[in-house]
Point group: C2
Chain length 394, copies 2
């Protein structure tokens, strides 16, 4: 039953939280198309995480830090490879379990770190002006999103209502968004926290970040366009942010690091050093069964280590369960963009989705974001997908 | 020992969380200059809140909703007025206890609802343009702040470092902020939550909001000015937000409601109705012992009920412990402004603080925000103060 090779094989071992048959939610690890019940394994004395795996979120394990993460992963690997007979009764087919939000989200920060995305949005929203604002290449622009509306993959997304104003109208109107969009992103889950006043240098990234999720940061472009001056996005984003049910530990991504793009102008010292690495993740956006885009993560201008260093340079603390996302992942080509705003160039150039032409999302549409990454020994890992279906507004 | 009259008398009864002599944190209520140990009272069978008062945060009681809040307040009133002999051993002088952050903050939203403040900031940051942006009178502008760096009154604030760029400079530099500022605000603490997709109408405000705190939303103006385009404030705000240790229940503020300013143009239906009321709170900002400003809360353009209706109109859920703040409270006069940016007109017009002239905050400075409100039967309530001292950057 346990498939130790393949995209969810022994080189991957992503963590999630699940329930089945009414038992209390607990931590599990995905192996092939099955879930190994780590809460049950800990109760049976097969692994010791100080009780963290019996918890309904990953947060207790996140807080334990890198040494505990390594010890747990090593022990799980040994169990699967050498002691699988002891796991009888602790393995469930994925189809039998319900996956829950894997961690309680502390603060959620969304960055804006793809140069192609920022330039596309600049060209669409500020035609005639330079596409990048003067600060963009000096710091990783970001803002806080709503942590309480982060939902797990599979949760339906209700079309939000709000204010929007047509460019030619004098006053705004109220109603369902007419420009519902996605943002395909990669999210980083903070494990070990910091005290208020501390900073996390770029070289200390792996001491604090546990792993990676895929993110779809749903966006209502008409609501966003009307509200965002001068304090940034608010209701255009806060109605839902979907994350994958599986958190891929950084330890599984050792073979995925690649040099990040050179940065010009040079960045300030607190953003430099630490290897300047990006992750070679290949994203894929599927819209009602049609793959419409393949955004590459490796060319992102700002790295996850720079994002965390920037986030904390003012002494802001981080907590286990904090989530920060890359911002929309867009490559240089149109069919590498991570939002439909870009893919359809502001809705002016519809794309073919199955038998239909589409600009923004219609009710009933389903969007799935997937990604693969190089694993050890030539393996290809599949990150947990993030999928959701749009329901009509209430 | 129990002073039932005065600003923290029986008409007030604000809630907090405290510890003393090493005992576990628990909920208490302030009576005069003493704390009644509600956790101890519940353990002794004097009051029943389902165990909520023995918890280390108010969140369990917040989640119980309006009927439970009313029942607890009624019972506390009876205990104090008619059964005070039973409270022996459960009352501690304020000077003997340590006050903690009274609730675990879910999401923190900061609004921008003083017309005078928004117009002042517009005039300072966008000279030559209309002071209010076109959206300002159509919706309560707001954004998400960092929940994990909300700290209780009395916590020192370390001067943050970050990037800032002088207007005449080509590139930014890194270092301690040179324009450390306050924002005197009023915060609303959400009690009963909602499900994703639900809205809270303006008339349903009191079913969801438990009470009020004072807020100082510390701001580094140079960092903020460089970073805030296009996604809003981030590191210029996220290093610390101070809140008072005492949460004044809405029930104590029944006499403080006043008609809110008329709104022109008319607002959309989801923002109208519900009484359109503001709170007649008189704020006071003290800087190193000198009262430099007296911001009035009653003239705020957007009401707390409108803010909550707007926050949830897109279906965003709220949770017990969510905090939303009014934005800087500034009245029409210079000595009624709630930030030093306004008080000193961008630093151009120093104010006298004791024997010194000041623009922005220096290391060692202490700022205290206080407020009073009309209570029942002619009482004057004092809201819990929010105070902090600035420490040098690290």
């Amino acid at each position: 039953m346990l498939d130790l090779t393949g995209p969810f094989g022994i080189h991957h071992l992503p963590y999630g939280v699940f329930t089945y048959g009414g038992v209390a939610p607990r931590v599990g690890v995905r192996v092939g198309d099955a879930v190994l019940d780590l809460g049950g394994a800990e109760a049976a004395g097969l692994i010791d995480a100080g009780g963290a795996f019996g918890q309904p979120t990953l947060n207790a394990h996140l807080a334990q830090g890198r040494a505990a993460w390594t010890a747990a992963r090593d022990r799980i690997t040994t169990l699967l490879r050498d002691e699988s007979a002891t796991l009888d009764g602790l393995v469930y087919p994925l189809t039998d379990v319900t996956l829950l939000l894997p961690f309680a989200v502390g603060d959620y920060v969304d960055f804006y770190s793809s140069e192609h995305h920022a330039a596309n949005v600049g060209a669409l929203f500020r035609p005639g002006s330079p596409p990048l604002l003067p600060n963009w290449k000096h710091l990783p622009i970001g803002y806080h999103g709503r942590a309480g509306t982060v939902v797990v993959s599979g949760t339906d997304v209700v079309r939000p209502c709000g204010q929007r104003k047509a460019p030619t109208a004098d006053v705004p109107t109220y109603g369902p968004t007419g420009r519902l969009d996605i943002e395909a992103e990669v999210g980083f889950v903070v494990g070990a926290g910091t005290a208020l006043g501390d900073r996390v240098g770029v070289a200390d990234f792996a001491d604090h970040v546990f792993g990676v999720v895929l993110v779809n940061d749903w966006s209502a472009r008409d609501i966003q366009a009307w509200e965002y001056q001068p304090l940034g996005p608010f209701l255009g984003k806060s109605f839902a942010t979907s994350v994958s049910a599986w958190v891929t530990p950084l330890a599984a991504l050792e073979a995925a690091w690649v040099p990040a793009p050179a940065q010009d102008p040079a960045v300030l010292p607190y953003l430099s050093g630490g290897g300047h690495r990006g992750l070679d993740l290949a994203l894929e956006v599927e819209w009602n069964g049609t793959v419409v885009s393949r955004p590459p993560f490796a060319p992102m201008y700002w790295t996850p280590a720079q994002q965390l260093a920037h986030l904390t340079v003012n002494g802001a603390s981080v907590r286990p369960g904090d989530l920060y996302a890359s911002g929309t992942v867009s490559g240089p080509e149109r069919d590498q963009t991570g939002s439909f705003l870009e893919l359809t160039w502001g809705g002016a150039e519809p794309v073919t989705v199955g038998d239909a032409k589409r600009t923004f999302l219609e009710d009933g549409d389903t969007v799935t974001v997937r990604a693969t990454a190089p694993g050890r020994d030539g393996a290809v890992l599949a990150l947990g997908e993030v999928t959701a279906t749009v329901l009509p507004s209430r």
